[in-house]
Structure formats: structure tokens, C-alpha cells
Assembly symmetry: C2
Homo-oligomer: 201 residues x 2
């Protein structure tokens, strides 16, 4: 039960988290069952509970691991870089995250939607602090007249909303677009246009 040490522990913990991501992101915390996760992982239920003390613990491990990945693209927005290019880079990286890690996006979305019962502190701490820091960077760029003057926090919200939409509402997006289209390629082009126009000073 201590943090993974042996080869088997590392491998099985990984297998379990991977399976749990599948199931939690598809059905939510309450909707997911240990039996389902065990099935997907190819392990027995008691064996899951040999590696993690509870269902809660699995979920918590997933969310913790997720948050870092999720915030990295914003962290990479560099105060020393070219303002427009930096924001556009953030938009692009965030959209790639939606495309490549849709399950993570949905897991996050479900958690926030339900009031973030298991993530409150992370949001109030790490996430809020990072946004505050980057908002300051954006504000400086605006004050210098290098990008249009906007509310920097709402600018960040808009990036989150527009990129995550494609992962979280995937079913709707694909249904409405119809077959034979590439949602993410089109989204990339659309968002490029949108932010080019929005940010122009």
C-alpha cells in the first residue's frame, strides 16, 4: 500500500489509473463502479483495493496527477515572449490537450460541474494563483499596448471554454458537424482567426 516501489506495483497502479480514467470520465464518480474499473483493468476487485485503499483514493490520485498536466500549457506562457504569439501558443497547446486527452478533460469537467467536491482546495490554491500570475502578465502586455485591452481573467476563461468544448461536448460537436470532418483541425483554424482579431491592439 505505500507509494509504488516494486515493478509490479508500478505497473498495476498504472493499469488501474488508466482503467479508472476510462470509467470515471465516462460515468462520473458516482456512476463508476469498482467492478467496472476492475474489469477494464483486467484485475479482481479486491486486487484494486490492495493497491488503493478506496474508490475515493483512486479518484483522488487521478485528479492530482491530472491538474499538473492541465495547467502546464498556461505555465508555459512566457512573459518575455511575443505577446500575441504567446497567447496563440497557449490556445494551440490547450486545444491539443483537448484532442489528445479528452478523457482527462471530461474528468475535470465533471468534477467542476458538480461543484468540485474533491478539488476545491486545488482550485482555490494552485489554479487560482497561476491564473492571477498570468493575468498580471497579460495586463502588462495590455498596458504596453501590445495586445488589445480586455479583462485578462475572462480572456483566460474564453480559452478554457473554447478549447475544452471540443473534448467535453465531443458527441454534440461530431453529431452537428456530421461525418467526414475533422473537428480539431477546423477548431484550430477558427480559434486562430478568433484570437488574431480579438488580440489585435
Amino acid at each position: 500500500m505505500p507509494r509504488p516501489k516494486t515493478r509490479i506495483q508500478i505497473r498495476n497502479s498504472e493499469t488501474i489509473l488508466e482503467a479508472a480514467l476510462d470509467v470515471f470520465s465516462a460515468h462520473g464518480f458516482r456512476g463508476a463502479t469498482l467492478d467496472q474499473i476492475a474489469e477494464v483493468a483486467g484485475l479482481s476487485k479486491p486486487n484494486l483495493l490492495y493497491y488503493f485503499p478506496s474508490k475515493e483514493a483512486i479518484h483522488h490520485a487521478l485528479l492530482t496527477r491530472l491538474l499538473a498536466t492541465w495547467l502546464d500549457p498556461l505555465r508555459d506562457m512566457d512573459a518575455a515572449g511575443d505577446p500575441v504569439a504567446e497567447v496563440m501558443g497557449y490556445v494551440r497547446r490547450k486545444l491539443e490537450l483537448s484532442r489528445d486527452y479528452p478523457r482527462e478533460s471530461r474528468l475535470f469537467a465533471i468534477e467542476i460541474l458538480q461543484g468540485a467536491p474533491r478539488m476545491r482546495e486545488a482550485i482555490e490554491g494552485e489554479l487560482k494563483a497561476l491564473v492571477a500570475q498570468k493575468a498580471k502578465v497579460l495586463q502588462t502586455w495590455m498596458d504596453e499596448g501590445r495586445i488589445a485591452r480586455l479583462d485578462p481573467v475572462h480572456l483566460v476563461f474564453s480559452i478554457w471554454a473554447l478549447t475544452q468544448h471540443y473534448a467535453d461536448f465531443d458527441v454534440q460537436v461530431r453529431t452537428v458537424l456530421g461525418d467526414g470532418r475533422d473537428p480539431y483541425a477546423e477548431a484550430g483554424a477558427f480559434l486562430e482567426t478568433l484570437y488574431t482579431r480579438l488580440l489585435a491592439p
Copy 2:
């Protein structure tokens, strides 16, 4: 059990749906329990099941009722009106919907997030058809050079994403903004700027 007829039936069906909206939007379908709904409604569990044959039926009734309300603002976008004003009007109405009916927004979001298991047909039918129709209107406006040339469907997606974000991620929005701010007022101003710049031909 037949559709509401007597006063009592109308009143209690309403009470149940109202309570169910509270509980389903907060915990998702699986996370909600009939006991919770009964408690909020101030009725006994067997009494709920006197008015609706099952938990599924309550959920289904809610979603059906919701969809119409949800699509109305888009329906009201008038091909004969001024293009920019019509789109801005849609954005404004949709944001008001998020502000005034956040539970409905979350219920919808949870459903789509989980693959729309109980709404597939409505999305493939009514919703898809309406978007196709309005996309044509937008395309005409673009062809006439009255608004900027963009992918009309992604334009609609952007409106959904940006407005629903404020209802669905309410906890995050309020936490990041901090106290003493009015998320919806600020969002209104931000979106006004955004779409003004985006739509300018």
C-alpha cells in the same frame, strides 16, 4: 400516471420536476437518488413513483422540457434582421439563460459529457437540424459581406462554449475571480467586445 389532469397532479408533477432538477444537476443521473429528490420535493418516495413510473422517466421528462427552452434563443435569430445585431442578441440571450437557469445548463452539460445516452436522438434530430438551418442563414450573411467570413457552425459552437462556461464552471469562475465581482456582467461586456471584433467584416 397518465399525463397530469387534476390540480394535485399538476402541482405535484411540477414539484417533483423542480426537485429533480436540483438533484440531477448537482449529482448527475447516477449520483442522484430518489430519496434525495423525494426529500427536496417534500414527498415520500413511493409517492414520486405514483406520478412518474421510474427514475428514468423523471430524468427524461426534465430533458425533454429543457431542450425547447435551450434552443429557443437560437430559433429567435432572425434571417431578416441586422446580422451583427442578431448574432449579438443570440449571445446575450444565451448568456442570460446561463445566468438565470444554471441548473438546466449543468443538467444538459452532464448529459452530453457522458455521451448523451438519453438525448442522442434529440441531438441528432432537432438540434442538428436547427443548427444546419441557422448555419445557412449565417453563411448567407457572410456571402453578402455583412459579417466576417467564418465557419458558421464553429461560430455557433463558440457561442455555446463561451456562454455555458459561466454556468457549468460557476465554481471555478467565482473562485478565480474572487469575491465582490459580478461574473455575468463582466462576461457580458467581454463577449460584446469579442463578437464585435470577430464579426466585423
